[in-house]
């Protein structure tokens, strides 16, 4: 059995309630074998609960969980053949690194020689082969994270669950580890479900992303899909750094009216209606005519710059790869490339 042949996951109508609060309102999800699947969402959106349901650490209130076509809804965590890396790593402080990594094998009665071989192999894969005799207390944060990773991969489970595994690392290490993690997943070929609130992490790692909002999955797709075609105002506002600019507008005929300014619309409105207009900061340009605004703030990031404009009551951010050409206090006109506009229903927030 190859890794790719196993590791499919399905959630069917999974509901989770804590007393009178509903944390998950019927989640449906299908994850393919070998996929790097990211659960993305702000805190409290239900992504971690979903991961814990996959792990078997939380019961479901309704619905089913299937792995490789087999129902595991009420199976114990240890019976699911899944491994998890916790945000805190949850290493066993009284054991050495070797003891930690070998623990899941020891628990199923693997003989000592096999454990030792597997431990060394797993440790080597994550680059901590030389630290096996240490205890977690003697490791740096990055080493601890790798130790937790080694403990998860040592048993070759059908499913990896990772709960914000990079959030405790400093920014530089996070970027490096991100790449390594991606390479490792590709090398192992094992299905991976990864929880994060960092949309950049999601974009770089994921084969597909499920975006969680308020206990619901609001969009599933490739990073490109989710970025390019956010299915709702909420997703649009969540993805991207800085996130998409969102402005109330009126769509009449083939024009969009923003603050009294008429802009060309990407298509003709069937009937006049109120919409939310979305435009990514990268698609905002200054022009000789357009929406009148003045420059409130210029942030120079070195390789890029972010300019905050104020147009009427709204703030609009612009991101460009060049140094800013405007200065704080300047009055400008903003133009939006018509084919880069996103339109959402004002009332429901759904993409039009």
């Amino acid at each position: 059995m190859t890794a790719a042949a196993r590791g499919s996951v399905r959630l069917e109508g999974v509901v989770k309630r804590h007393g009178t609060t509903t944390v998950l309102h019927g989640v449906d999800l299908a994850i393919e074998p070998g996929e790097f699947f990211v659960l993305l969402g702000p805190s409290g959106s239900g992504k971690t609960t979903t991961l814990r349901i996959l792990a078997g650490l939380e019961d479901v209130s309704a619905g089913r969980v299937l792995m490789d076509g087999e129902e595991v809804t009420h199976a114990e965590p240890g019976e699911r053949d899944v491994a998890m890396v916790f945000q805190s790593y949850a290493l066993y402080p009284h054991m050495t690194v070797a003891g930690n990594v070998g623990f899941p094998l020891k628990m199923v009665g693997t003989d000592a020689a096999t454990i030792e071989r597997a431990v060394q192999e797993a440790a080597a894969k994550v680059g901590i082969g030389h630290l096996l005799a240490r205890t977690p207390g003697q490791l740096s944060g990055g080493q601890q994270q790798r130790c937790a990773l080694a403990r998860a991969i040592v048993r070759q489970p059908r499913l990896f669950l990772l709960d914000e595994p990079l959030s405790n690392l400093d920014a530089k290490l996070r970027l490096e580890t991100r790449l390594e993690l991606h390479a490792l997943q590709r090398a192992l070929g094992a299905t991976t479900v990864y929880v994060t609130h960092d949309q950049e992490e999601a974009m770089t790692l994921a084969d597909r992303i499920a975006v969680f909002m308020d206990g619901r999955i609001v969009q599933v797709g490739t990073p490109r899909d989710v970025y390019a075609r956010p299915q709702s105002v909420a997703v649009a506002g969540f993805i991207g750094t800085p996130p998409m600019n969102l402005l109330p507008a009126r769509w009449e005929g083939d024009a969009l009216v923003v603050d009294g300014q008429r802009l060309p619309a990407p298509s003709r409105a069937p009937v006049p209606r109120d919409v939310t207009l979305g435009i990514r900061p990268g698609h905002v340009t200054t022009a000789t005519q357009g929406v009148a605004a003045h420059v409130e703030r210029v942030e120079d990031l070195g390789d890029a710059s972010i300019v905050t404009f104020v147009a009427g009551e709204h703030r609009i951010k612009q991101k460009s790869e060049r140094a800013a050409t405007v200065r704080e206090g300047d009055t400008v006109a903003l133009a939006f490339a018509t084919d880069s506009l996103h339109l959402f229903d004002r009332a429901t927030g759904a993409r039009l």
């Binding site: 792990a55 402080p93 009284h94 207390g137 403990r151």
Partner: protein, 286 residues
């Protein structure tokens, strides 16, 4: 430069003062023990000598008398050992799972229930002697090891649970979940992962329960008898209404303290280890 030296000087002074305070504290604590130790090697005449003799011809007669004499406390040391060990083992057997469960459970008035446990510890035990006496009498357990151990259990259990709950609470839930995912199951997760984290607490609690049982007098004297006579009760053979045999009391006290001190030394390592393990930064802190 000058400020640096004055700061250093100030620090040195402060350290000296702290050391002096600590020294006085230790001296106050050590003095009675040392005095007892000296007394145990004196003759009764030397005990009463004034000014107190620091140099004297030491004698082992008191120990000989206390160990092998007419009123040897050896059987009583054994009694104490059996009762205290049984009480401690029973207490820990129940307290560990209970503290684990309570440490994991979230229920209303948890704090209040902890306070309640403390309150029961504040009740004067004298009030319970008569009911306990009657209960043990009815079931024929007066003057039995089982009877006394079970009575000690009723006292030690709430306190042991209360003491250990906080240790269990300090073990991150994720660590236990990790063990569950690592296919340990509840029992082995408890055994391999949780208990090693709280061994400092278990050691402290065990010692505490053991010492309390070892030192207990009131219940031992009332609920015990000829068969079960602990060393605390037997010591009174040397403090009779006729005269106090100070040197023999001291020798007996030293012998009664010996196991306690040994346990303390032995367990100290565990306690310290338990504390340092709990304090490492990678222990799963958030």
């Amino acid at each position: 430069m000058r400020t640096a030296t004055t700061a250093a000087a100030r620090r040195r002074t402060r350290n000296l003062v702290l050391a002096a305070i600590a020294g006085v504290g230790v001296a106050v604590w050590v003095f009675p023990v040392l005095w007892g130790l000296l007394t145990s090697f004196k003759t009764e005449r030397d005990v009463l000598a004034y000014p107190p003799a620091v140099f004297f011809t030491p004698t082992l007669a008191n120990y000989r008398e206390v160990l092998f004499g007419a009123s040897s406390i050896l059987p009583n040391l054994w009694s104490s050992f059996v009762v205290a060990t049984a009480a401690t083992a029973l207490t820990m057997l129940f307290a560990i799972p209970a503290a684990y469960a309570l440490g994991r459970l979230r229920y209303p008035y948890k704090r209040a229930s902890g306070f309640y446990v403390l309150v029961t510890q504040m009740l004067p035990p004298v009030g319970l002697i008569i009911p306990y006496y009657l209960v043990l009498q009815k079931i024929g357990a007066l003057d039995t090891y089982v009877g006394l151990a079970v009575i000690y259990l009723t006292f030690a259990l709430p306190f042991a649970i209360w003491l250990m709950v906080s240790y269990f609470e300090d073990v991150p839930l994720e660590m236990e979940e990790a063990a569950l995912l690592d296919r340990a199951g509840r029992m082995r997760a408890l055994w391999h992962v949780i208990l090693p984290q709280v061994r400092g607490g278990i050691a402290v609690t065990t010692i505490f329960v053991f010492l309390n049982a070892w030192n207990e007098f009131l219940f031992a004297v009332v609920l015990g008898g000829n068969r079960v006579r602990t060393v605390t009760v037997a010591m009174f053979n040397f403090i009779s209404v006729e005269q106090t045999q100070w040197a023999k009391v001291a020798a007996g006290a030293m012998l009664a303290m010996l196991p306690v001190i040994l346990i303390g030394i032995f367990a100290q390592r565990h306690i310290v280890k338990g504390l340092t393990v709990g304090a490492v930064k990678g222990g799963g802190r958030r």
